[in-house]
Structure formats: C-alpha cells, structure tokens
Amino acid sequence: MALDKNGIARRIAQELRDGWYVNLGIGIPTLVANYIPEGIEVEFQSENGILGMGPFPFDGEEDADLINAGKQTITARQGAVFFDSSTSFAMIRGQHVQLTVLGAMEVAQNGDIANWKIPGKMVKGMGGAMDLVASADNIIVAMMHTNRAGESKLLKSCSLPLTGVQCVSKIVTNLAVVEIRDNKFHLLERAPGVSVEEIKAATEGELVVPDHVPEMKL
C-alpha cells in the first residue's frame, strides 16, 4: 500500500544521524520532526532565523515573534538560538546544515529539481529553496510519486523552471525510495506492498532496478 504523507516523513526520519543540523521545508518535510528515531538528537534550522525549533506551542501560548519559515507559530527548545537572515543563509550556503528535506513538483534523473514556479500560473517565489538546493550536499526530496493528474514527477528532464541543477541525492515518495547517481534513478526500496512494476509505471525517467528491491521498514 502506498504511503501517506506521514509514512513518507517517517521513512525520511530514518535518514537522520545523531548531531545533524537539518532544514525541513514546508509541507511533508515538516512532518519529519515528528518521527526522530530513539537515541538520536538533531537540531532543526528554520531559515527565517532559528536553530533548535521545537513543537507547536500550547493553545494560548503562541507568540507572534516566534514563527518558522512556513509562518507557523512554534516554540524554541533548550539551547535554541535566534539569528538574522544573513547569518541563517551563511549556515546554509556555508554547508553547516547536514541535511535538507524539501518538496518538489518535478525531479529529473540528473538531480535537477523544479519546485517554485508554473509559468503564467503560480508565482509564489522561490523563498530559500534556491539557496538550499545550491548549497546542501545532502538533499532529500519528499513528494508524491505522481501529480494530481497521475503524471510522473520523476522525469528524464524537468519541464518547469528549475530551482537547482544536479543537486538532489535521494527521493522518498509514497511508492519508493530512489537514489540519484550517474544521471539515473536507482530504486532502493519499495513502499510496503507496492510492486516494482507499479513504481516503474509511475516513473518517467530512467529507473535502474536491482534484482532484489527490499520493502521499506517503517
């Protein structure tokens, strides 16, 4: 059975390593914070200016001066720190953040990503995404394998305006875990009960399938 958003977040959380600083994008990536494995400590950076982001505040305790990059009210953990936007992107551009998780509209088999613009339609802007993808060594994309029209989002090449080039390391979708290497998608894991055939059918780009594709352990 294909994963839901929480399932994708849960699988991505397995990629976390002790001591990492992690930037989570808006949407599914935000949910990753709910599934940190036992015995591991990570710090979440939000590019609007906090390191050590905590959970949502209790009802009535929200503070207009304490939000995340999605403009949601949050809390600060013990040992948190606030800083300005140029310091925040110094952390990101200077590769002090070990993992970036973000959503995408399209990913190409060479690692290109498109997630900020649909010409003539959507003009929200790139926010911090272009800085994040251009800088981070370790980028995981969290998204559905196909769009609402049922078309693959894992493509030979992106059709939408790019956010960054050759930057995505891994993709975790509702169907699979896919690694990008040598300009190809490499199938690493299947969602529980999802067949290799289903994944192949939902992937437009070149997909390398090993003899044995293990099921995700969640």
């Binding site: 403009k71 600060a76 003009v123 926010g127 251009a134």
Partner: protein
C-alpha cells in the same frame, strides 16, 4: 544630534513618490506596522519595495498593494497575497524574485560597502540569466550585486536614543541587514529607552546604522498561521 523623532509622521519625512524602500520582516513577523500604515495615509506612489514578502491582502505591504502604491516588488516569496499574484500576472506590478539568502546577503553587502559577491544560489535557473558565472571549488557561482535603498524601515523590540536596536525571537530576520543598507534608516520600536539601558554586549543593530527612531503607537503583531497543540 538627536535621532529620536516624536511620531511616525516625522519619521517618514522626505519619503516621496518613486523612491526605493527596504522593509524588514518575514511574513507578518517583525514588520514596521506603524510606518506602513503611515505610508497608506501619505499616499506615496510608484514605490519600489525590497521586502522578503509582500504581506497578506489586508495587512502589511498588502495594504500598499491594494492601494496601488507599489510599482515594483523585490522579494523572495509572495505566496500569501492574492492581490499581489493578480497584479503580477496581469503585469500591473513589476516583480523581481530573488533567492532568500541572496536577498539577505545583497542587503548586507549594500550596507557593508561590498558591491558584489559570488553565490551558488540560482545557478542554472532563470535567476542566473544575464549574470556572470564563475567556478570556485569546482562549483559554478553567480555574481550578485549589492542592494541599497533611499529609506530602510525596520522594526525592533527595543531601541535606545542612540539608535541601538535589539529584536525579539524570529522577528529579527531581515531587519538588521536592511538597517545597514538604507541611505536613511528609520527604526520603529516597541519600547524606546535612554542610552545606557541596553547592554552594549547584546545589541543587534549598532546605532550608527540608524538615523531616526521612534516608539510605535500600536503594534498589532498579527499571526499569519496560528498553529498550536492542545494543552494536555
């Protein structure tokens, strides 16, 4: 010299049509509410506004947009404002979208006398069009130029009569860099205190960057996305 002005009217004196402004804030967090309200009252038009976001339809820079006072926005993300999107798609509003980190650094550079710098952000995208590319450490970077403004308008938590400022929580965001980059920098603060009351070791914006300071009449501090968990 006295940097303290009595009210927002005095603070914005000299702000005219067709000027370039920087406005601090991220979403509705840390925006100069009082100055924006005053700009609506003044009716200045043809403004170029450098601000990470464009407010929402009925608050923040959205108020100036509704009023057609803005000619051009220079921002990184404008997703929460329908009127913005309408004016942009119809071509009424010029928009320059810039990666958030580049926007922050370009403001800092403007204030710091660094006319240009290289960054990897935006390489291979439409942001890089027409920009010089150079490879450092095996990675292509694009050349970005500094931004400055006729007026930079920032919002701080506390300020003193020397113009020294401190911000609270994530309301700091773009305010410190923009404070550096204004030909004239105006700070509206929640609390104005005499020089000497702020600890000199913990000031976010040194007063040298601030030309005018005033205590705002009223801060609504609207929350854009109220996300909470129930008390157990």
């Amino acid at each position: 010299m006295n940097k303290v002005v009595n009210n927002v009217e005095q603070a914005l004196q000299g702000l005219e049509d067709n000027m370039t402004l920087m406005l601090g804030g991220f979403g509705l967090c840390g925006i100069p509410e009082n100055s924006i309200a005053q700009m609506v009252t003044m009716g200045v038009k043809g403004l170029t506004c450098i601000s990470n976001n464009a407010g929402v339809d009925d608050f923040g820079l959205g108020l100036l947009l509704q009023n057609r006072q803005i000619k051009k926005m220079i921002s990184s993300y404008v997703g929460e404002n329908d009127e913005f999107e309408r004016q942009m798609l119809s071509g009424e509003l010029e928009v320059d979208l810039i990666p958030q980190g580049s926007l922050a650094e370009r403001c800092r550079a403007g204030g710091a006398g660094i006319p240009a710098f290289y960054t990897p952000a935006g390489f291979g995208t439409e942001v890089a069009e027409g920009k010089e590319v150079r490879v450092y450490n095996g990675k292509p970077h694009i050349l970005e130029e500094a931004l400055t403004a006729d007026f930079a308008i920032v919002k701080a938590w506390k300020g003193d009569t020397e113009g020294n400022l401190i911000y609270k929580g994530t309301a700091r965001n773009f305010n410190p860099m923009m404070a550096m980059a204004g030909k004239i920098t105006i700070a509206e603060v929640e609390e104005l205190v005499p020089a000497g009351e702020l600890d000199p070791n913990f000031i976010h914006t040194p007063g040298i960057f601030v030309q005018r300071i005033f205590q705002g009449d009223k801060f609504e501090k609207r929350i854009e996305q109220r996300t909470v968990q129930p008390k157990q």
